[in-house]
């Protein structure tokens, strides 16, 4: 399993027993519920381990980055992506977990798109993996719909005056992916391989809070 936590992050797994008078920590709640499910025979620790490994090792923004790179290179592919992203996804071997219906929205000099879920934290898992903490934070969820230009500027993305900002609140089961513009300094796109271009497509650009090329 990938070690993404480093050596210092053992507090949670070492946590056992609740301190009297204190509410249990999230780690303790997790452990207690897992124990209950295992003791009753509904699930095994190995099954939970496998799920955790799947989250850590298999999910990520790789699929999204490749889709965007391909769209930069191939106008017909891009057109299909913008009109029927589900068909494009169906050709790739990605599950539909949390992405039953995908809509891709294109950034242009005239339009900047940005995605949020104000009610919980819906996110296109199958193309972007799992969401970063800031995406789930009340500050992002509350403010990006009300003052998107100010919030994007705070996050380091100045959207030109006159460029329309379109916020997409994924309040149902539709999921959104932003197709960012290629970076200005990328040169001739067709001199690059799809893998090289995919390297330029960061997850944050596909949420709409950063330009491509900044990862």
């Amino acid at each position: 399993m990938t070690d993404v936590f480093g050596a210092g992050a053992t507090e949670a797994s070492a946590a056992t027993g609740v301190t009297p008078g204190r509410p249990p920590t999230n780690a303790q709640r997790t452990e207690a519920l897992e124990s209950l499910l295992v003791e009753r025979g509904y699930v095994t620790t190995a099954e939970i381990d496998r799920l955790v490994e799947h989250f850590l090792d298999d999910l990520g923004p790789m699929v999204g980055s490749r889709i965007v790179a391909q769209a930069w290179l191939d106008p017909a592919y891009k057109q299909r992506l913008l009109t029927d992203a589900d068909a494009v996804l169906a050709e790739l071997d990605v599950g539909s977990t949390q992405t039953e219906h995908l809509v891709v929205v294109e950034n242009t000099p005239e339009v900047h798109n940005v995605v949020v879920c104000t009610l919980c934290s819906c996110y296109p898992w199958s193309v972007l993996g799992l969401p970063p903490a800031w995406y789930k934070d009340p500050a992002y969820r509350s403010r990006i719909v009300r003052e998107p230009r100010a919030v994007l500027a705070e996050m380091g993305t100045e959207v030109d005056e006159g460029t329309e900002i379109r916020v997409w609140d994924s309040s149902a089961e539709v999921r959104y992916l932003v197709l960012p513009m290629p970076p200005d300094d990328v040169g001739e796109l067709h001199d690059r391989t799809i893998d090289e271009l995919a390297q330029l497509v960061g997850r944050d650009a596909m949420i709409g809070v950063a330009p491509a090329g900044t990862r």
Binding site: V4, F5, E11, A12, S13, A15, N26, A27, R29, T30, E31, L33, L36, L37, R40, Y42, V43, E47, I48, L51, V52, F55, L56, E100, H101, V103, T118, L119, G129, L130, P132, A133, W134, K136, D137, P138, A139, Y140, R141, S142, V145, R146, E147, A150, V151, G156, G162, T163, E164, R166, V167, D169, S171, A172, E173, V174, G202, R203, D204, R215
Partner: protein, 196 residues
Amino acid sequence: MDGIHDLGGRQGFGRVPYEPDQEPWHETWEPRAMAVTLAATRVAGTNVDQMRYAIERIPPAEYLTAGYYGRWIRAARTLLEESEVLEGGELPAAQPTGALRAVDRPPRFSTGEMVRVRDLHTAGHTRLPGYCRGRVGRVVLVHPGFVFPDTNSQRAGERPQHVYAVRFEAATLWGEGAESDAAVHVDLFEDYLEAA
């Protein structure tokens, strides 16, 4: 319900704690909480709308401080306790997966049409963000049919229906002080809408 989870447009939360290219996980219990929660909802035989409603019922102060996966693990416990499983009841049958459903009637609204969000104050679970209630917007996308969360969360039927991406101009939502050249699109179920 008009709960703390309905965060769109609320003020006072300060700066977004943004770090570029942040990893999705921060502590070892987080992916474990996610895995245990998914297992628990399978055992309890609940659907995603029941899960979201369980999250929304976390007391407001706790909702804000528990963190994302902290909310998950609390909701998982609630769902398990509300099922009959822990009292030795039979494992419930799994519910249909996914939320996409074929809807045989044509969409009531079409692209370009102006619609008003009904003044609904649902006591239970709903996917109607409070900030667009009563507002008028334009349909920009007609999505396929989906299970209706308001009833599915109560196990009162799937009632599948079309969903629409409705565009609200910023000034419609936030008044005179709104940012210029901005619009918010909200995905709204047909039952939330009426012709404007």
